[in-house]
């Protein structure tokens, strides 16, 4: 009903014909698709590299923040400051500052590749987010599991490595994937550096032809990646729930 109402409202609007010509030009959609898809590959590459690094750095950060005792107080404080800092700054600012700032230093040992700095920026920001997800997972593992591991003579690190973290990671896979859907979308922010990734390519095309169909192409590409990821997440959640219920019945 609602959908039908919106469709009727939009198609009856005075500007509909112009709107249609601007956004839904099938020929332009088809013709530009290969080029834009090609640019999108850079987004996928940035996403995959950043994700692989984030999975490790975020876990490390989560573990550092969970270190007990007064000896590690400074480490915990640093981890908290880091998380607050990078969750507080808009991602686009971090990308701009690193992407423009670092090459501007003109230091020979500092890479001046803007894609490199874009990846670094995304890693810095998303490490903060994802470490919070990991931390929630680690804290959700009951202390009695750690006690059981320690009672066998396992060290604190071994207990984390073999008992606590494996259980924590299993539990946080869905929220983790959620964050990665966000990361996949945020790769478009790299366009502010002038890197010709999908959004930049689209903007170039749009400016040349004054036609918005290209945006639609980009949207299609993002959705083609994020929707399967979202369904996969749902499937994992459902599977876990089934397993838990099966466990309870026994």
């Amino acid at each position: 009903m609602l959908v039908a109402a919106v469709v009727i409202l939009v198609t009856r609007s005075p500007g509909w014909e112009e709107f249609k010509a601007y956004f839904f030009d099938w020929d332009k959609y088809r013709d530009s698709f290969p080029e834009i898809a090609d640019a999108f590959l850079l987004n996928v590459k940035i996403f995959l590299i950043a994700e692989a690094i984030i999975l490790v750095t975020a876990l490390a950060l989560a573990v550092l923040r969970g270190l007990p005792g007064p000896v590690f107080f400074p480490v915990r404080v640093l981890a908290i400051v880091y998380t607050d800092f990078f969750r507080g700054i808009p991602t686009i600012l971090v990308i701009l500052m690193l992407g423009q700032g670092m090459p501007a230093l003109q230091l020979s040992w500092v890479p001046d590749d803007q894609v490199f700095w874009a990846v670094v920026a995304l890693v810095l920001v998303y490490t903060a987010y994802v470490s919070e997800v990991y931390r929630a997972g680690i804290e959700s593992v009951h202390p009695s599991q750690d006690a059981a591991a320690r009672s066998l003579g396992l060290s604190r690190a071994q207990s984390l490595r073999f008992v606590v973290v494996p259980q924590a990671v299993r539990r946080v896979v869905p929220p983790l994937l959620n964050d990665f859907i966000g990361l996949q979308k945020d790769t478009a922010l790299v366009s502010v550096l002038g890197v010709v990734e999908v959004l930049r390519q689209t903007q170039i095309d749009e400016a040349a032809a004054f036609n918005g169909t290209y945006y639609l192409v980009a949207a299609t590409l993002f959705v083609a990646i994020t929707i399967p990821l979202a369904r996969f997440t749902d499937w994992l959640v459902a599977r876990d729930r089934r397993r838990q219920q099966a466990g309870r019945l026994v």
Partner: protein
Amino acid sequence: MLRGVDLGVAEHEVVCLIGASGSGKSTLLRCVNLLEPIDAGRIVVGGEEITVRGVDVNRIRRGIGIVFQSFNLFPHMSVIRNVTLGPRKALGHSRTRAEQDADELLARFGLSDKRDEYPDRLSGGQQQRVAIVRALAMRPGLLLLDEVTSALDPELVAEVLDVIRELAAGGMTMVIATHEMGFARDVASRVCFLDDGVILEQGAPEAIFSSPREPRTQQFLQRIVDAGRL
């Protein structure tokens, strides 16, 4: 909270700790395994004081097994991996050797067919037996059992108690916190009654159960008898 507890356990001795919930039975066991920090006092195991500063807690714990009320099996590991984790990671045994030892223990306690199951596929009694096997796989000199049947359905209690009886007959040194008075009377070489963090009375099981001296012990046992549990 424990106060002024002075308890010596000889080799091959089975000491049962009885007393109301909150009397300090669990805390006492957790202290011996260094899971609970102590403010004052000394604990000596196998001639070595384990409460001195800078002691290697991991080494101490390797020699002391503990089984918990709530099993605490690792849910993401199969039975065999639960049992071999300690020997492999803490003792540095090879996988082959650890699995050989584990298979022997599992066979001894009738769990061979559960070898590759995950804990959530086992009954409470089976889980607790696996937890006992997991502790035994470390070849501990001392086994601590913390109300190991309290979380079990009544019909599953016997299979776990039988395992402990067998261990006692085999000469395992054990300290057992329990609410199963009949079992304590059977298996214990000595029974300690704890009340409010203090060992109020201890002695041979017959003495404690038939002619307790302390009014608090009499009161506690009377309540157990009234509840039909002894």
